[in-house]
C-alpha cells in the first residue's frame, strides 16, 4: 500500500491545491508590490511600494497576471471546499470566472461611476468594503483582463482535472 491510502491521497490532493492557490495569490501580490504605482490599490499603501520609479519587472505580463492568478487561486480553493467531483471543479471555476468578470465589467467607464454612486453608504468604514465605490469609479477596465480571467478559470479547471485524473489513476492501480 506504501501508505497511500485513499485518505492520504485525498489529503495530498488538498495540500497540492492549497499550495498552488497560495503560489498564484503570492505571485499576484508580488506583481502589485513591484509593478504597480504606490497607492494604486486599496491594499497597497504608498509606503509599501519601495520599488516605484524602477523599471517594471513583470513588463506587460504584470498587467493581467493578478487577474489570472485570482480566478485560478479561488477556483482551486472553492473546488477544494466543494469536493473532489467534476461538478465541484466546474462550480468553483465558473463561479469565480463569473464573479471576476462581473467586477471587471463593473469598471467599464460608462458603468463604473453609476455603480459607484449606487454603492451603499453603510459600507463606509468597513475595511476593504469601503473601497467598493472607488473600485468601480477609479478602477481600470481592460479587455485583456477579461481574457486573463477566462484563462485563469480554464487553467484552474485543467489543474483540477489533471490532478484528479492523475490521482484517481494512481489510486486505481494501487487498489488493484
Amino acid at each position: 500500500m506504501n501508505g497511500s491510502t485513499p485518505a492520504l491521497l485525498a489529503r495530498e490532493r488538498i495540500t497540492t491545491k492549497l499550495l498552488l492557490a497560495a503560489t498564484a495569490l503570492g505571485l499576484g501580490f508580488v506583481v502589485y508590490l513591484f509593478d504597480r504605482l504606490p497607492g494604486s490599490a486599496y491594499f497597497l499603501p504608498a509606503q509599501w511600494a519601495h520599488f516605484a520609479g524602477k523599471p517594471f519587472i513583470f513588463g506587460s505580463v504584470g498587467g493581467w497576471l493578478p487577474e489570472f492568478a485570482h480566478v485560478y487561486a479561488f477556483g482551486l480553493l472553492t473546488a477544494t471546499v466543494l469536493g473532489t467531483t467534476r461538478r465541484a471543479a466546474l462550480t468553483g471555476c465558473s463561479l469565480w470566472w463569473l464573479i471576476d468578470i462581473l467586477f471587471e465589467i463593473g469598471q467599464y467607464p460608462n458603468l463604473g461611476p453609476h455603480l459607484a454612486a449606487a454603492t451603499p453608504v453603510w459600507l463606509d468604514g468597513i475595511p476593504f468594503l469601503e473601497n467598493t465605490g472607488a473600485f468601480f469609479a477609479r478602477g481600470t477596465f481592460d479587455p485583456a483582463d477579461l481574457i486573463a480571467i477566462m484563462l485563469g478559470a480554464l487553467a484552474a479547471w485543467m489543474t483540477l482535472s489533471g490532478l484528479h485524473y492523475r490521482k484517481e489513476s494512481r489510486s486505481h492501480v494501487q487498489t488493484q
Binding site: Y42, F74, T132, F135
Partner: protein, 285 residues
Amino acid sequence: MSKLNNHKQHSILQRCLLLLPVLALGVLSIVGSGGGPVVQPNTTMVGLSVGTLVKTSGIIDVTNNCNPATPPAPNIQAWWNGMPPTNRTFPFVGFELWRNTTDGCTTSRLDVYRALVTFNMASVSNLKGLVNKAELIVSTRALPAGVTAGNTSCVAFTGGAGTLERFGPAAASSLPPVTGPGVLTQFQPADPFPVGNVVFTFPRPWTSGSVPGAASPTATLASGTGGATFTVDVTSQVTAALNGGFPGMSWMLTSAFEGPLTGPVASGGLDCKTSYAFQLRLTHL
C-alpha cells in the same frame, strides 16, 4: 437512513461554513485590488548649500609703466564681503575682465567664476521609492552690466553661464566647500576647477524651448525679469541617489569664457558675473 441524512446535512453545512470565508476573501481581494485612494502628489524642495568659486589669471605688461593701476584691479574678497548676505546665497558664474590703462599699460586680468551647489539628499531620504519626478531648476537671479548686444560670451537672458555640469554622488566630499549662507573659494592659478559631466550647454544666443544636445531633458523659458529659467529632468539621478543612500547631489555652472587671455583686454574691461538660483523640486506621493 435518518443517520445517513443527518450525516449528509452535516457535511453540506460544513462545506458552506468553509465556503463562506473563501468567497469573502475572494471578493474582498477583488475590491481591494483596485481604485486605490486618490493620492495627491506632494512637492518638496530639497535644502541646498552653495559656493562661488573664482580663479584669476592674466597678462602682465613689463615694458610700460603700470603704476598706479587705473582703474584699480577688482578686489574679489572685498566685493564678496561687501555684498548683502542674501546675495551670497545665490552663487555667481561668469567672468570679469580688467585692463590697466595707465600710460599704455596692457596688463590684463581675467577672473573666472563658477557656481557650485550641493543638495542635501540625506534630508529627503524618507522619500526613497516615492519620488515620481525630480526637477533641477536653474534660473538667473541677477544679470550683470556686461550683458551687451554683440558680446557672444555675456549674452542676454543667461549672462556669463557656459554649461551645467553634474557630479557623481560620491564626488561631494572632494568638491570645494559649500554652505547654506554661501561661501567664496579662491583658486590659485595653477589649481584646476573641479570637473563634472556636462548636462547641457547654455544656448548662445538664448532661445526658449527645449535645449538641444542636453544629456538630461531640459527646457528653458524666459523668467519674466530679463533672465531665463532652465528646468532639467533629473528623476533618474535623484532616484538613484536616494536608493543608494547618497547624502548629497552636486551641480556646477561653468563660465561662458574661462580664458586663457590671448591678448590685452579692451579698455574698460567687462563685468559678466551672473548670479543664479538653484532649486531641486521633488514631486512625490
